[in-house]
Amino acid sequence: MIVFDKVSKQFFNDTYGVKDVSFVIDSGELILITGPTGSGKTTLMRLVTKEHTPTEGEVIFDDLPLSKVKPSLLPLHRRRIGVVFQDYRLLPESNVWENVALPLLIAGKSSDEIEERVTDLLKLVKLEDKFELFPNELSGGEAQRVSIARALAVAPPVLFADEPTGNLDKESSLAIINLLKKINQLGTTVLVSTHDVVVLEEMAAARRLELKNGELVLDTQPKKRRVKKKEEEIEKKKDKPKQKKTPAKKVKKDAPKTKEKVEDLEESKPKKKGKK
């Protein structure tokens, strides 16, 4: 699902956001990304959303190297990742309903679909009776639940929560943690970046990636890249004299896969509506 292959992001001469980070996240996993402030958690998220591009290495999302995602396709890539921020980032001039509906409007969904989806999401986050309130009328926990509902609006396969409980009390934090767990159980890959002890205790069973000064110092359940296995098979075949292939052919064989993925992304572009 998400692969970091020796990824580094250098900001200045000796300042790294992340440094030589490699890991594999499978679909449906619940991941905790931990580490102190400035350890690179947010940079990691920005690399996945392609707000940052790696200085070295490659980030692969759903078998598609992000370096192959053209700027014109970036919005489509971002619609596949729900992002929850520590400071919620709700639009202050829009009410709860409008905030949750925003990604659906962006994705060009019909009003019936928006109505149905927003209703379901507000039920999920238990805010169906507060749909008319504006962000400044909500508590921190409620605002964060709206933010989660908004992140889930277009049913992204991945949800990235960046310090989701950073501004919340323990009770609200627990509610958010339970909500994230529930979302994960429904099949969404959930990545939670945090250094909140409450979260760490409540999600102790989850796989944990720990960052320190931009380097990955701990992966509690390291996974191998599935693509790697395929590559190994190819390597094995290469060893057999009859099936030996030239590197050029190998590149050619791999190339269509990336091309197909880019085409998939292009196909997922909303089609222009015909005249009614």
Binding site: L76, R79, V83, V154
Partner: protein, 288 residues
């Protein structure tokens, strides 16, 4: 919420900024529309003078009919002469009477023998008028020659000046409007910077983010253009009686509605594009 509704909401939420943008656009368009009518008007006046008899020769009072016909015949033979019209003393008196029919005293005092006959000569080209003038001056029967070239030259200079001043003024004001709309929308974009970042994170396309600001600029352009035209039209209606009196026999009023339609369409289209471009320029700078 569609982008047009969002644009209207943005305008409603900052009324003074929006009124400033619309006012400067309206002033620009008022000046542009006024100058375009002035240019059209001066061009019409120029055409009027160019189509009139361009050289008039007045005969001696004692010139005989034979002498007058001889002059007419001589002039008619010139290749550069387009048309000739002879006005006899009786015809001159008839014209005089017609023009002064409300003043019996003047009519009583004047008789045909004190009015000179005249010859009105038009040339194919304005450049031939000097030659026509010289020809008429050289003839014994002709006492005086009135030549309108100097009037036409003066009018041509005037029209050119009006055109250049108009273009310079409209370009300057247009640029000012563009910069003011860009600055005002930039302020709004800055105010919505976080919202734009959030939308970008949520996968909003570039157009989704730009559209409300584009439409905001378009609305400023549209309202500015219609207001500017409305004020210009009202001013024209107010000045029409004075202009008619000033222009006398030069008939350019009332201006045909087709002229107004073309003027308003072109002006509105240009300002809509100008406003839209200003709006997208403002947001583009922020998105970089």
């Amino acid at each position: 919420m569609n982008p047009f509704t969002t644009a209207l909401t943005n305008i409603r939420r900052s009324p003074f900024q929006s009124i400033t943008a619309m006012a400067i656009t309206a002033v620009t368009l008022f000046v542009a529309y006024s100058f375009s009518l002035m240019i059209l008007g001066t061009q019409q006046i120029l055409n009027y003078f160019e189509t009139r008899p361009q050289v008039i020769g007045f005969f001696e009072l004692d010139a005989s009919v034979a002498e007058i016909n001889q002059v007419s015949e001589k002039m008619r033979q010139k290749t550069y002469v387009k048309d000739i019209q002879l006005i006899t003393q009786e015809e001159a008196l008839a014209t005089y009477r017609d023009e002064n029919r409300d003043d019996p005293l003047l009519l009583e005092l004047v008789t045909a023998d004190i009015l000179p006959a005249s010859i009105e000569v038009s040339a194919d080209e304005i450049s031939a008028l000097v030659q026509v003038k010289n020809d008429l001056t050289g003839l014994d029967a002709v006492e005086e020659v009135v030549f309108q070239q100097d009037i036409i030259d003066s009018l041509t200079n005037w029209t050119t000046s009006v055109r250049y001043i108009g273009i310079a003024t409209v370009v300057t004001l247009g640029l000012t409007s563009f910069l003011i709309i860009t600055a005002l929308i930039s302020m709004k974009v800055t105010h919505r910077k976080k919202a734009i970042q959030v939308m970008s994170f949520l996968g909003a396309s570039s157009w989704f983010i730009k559209a409300p600001f584009f439409f905001e600029g378009v609305i400023y352009g549209l309202i500015g253009s219609l207001t500017g035209w409305g004020v210009m039209f009202a001013a024209l209606l107010y000045l029409t009686p004075w202009l008619k009196e000033f222009l006398g026999t030069i008939s350019i009023l009332p201006i045909p509605w087709e002229v107004f339609a073309i003027q308003l369409s072109i002006g509105t289209l240009i300002t809509i594009l100008l406003g839209g471009f200003a709006g997208t320029t403002a947001v583009k700078r922020m998105m970089k």
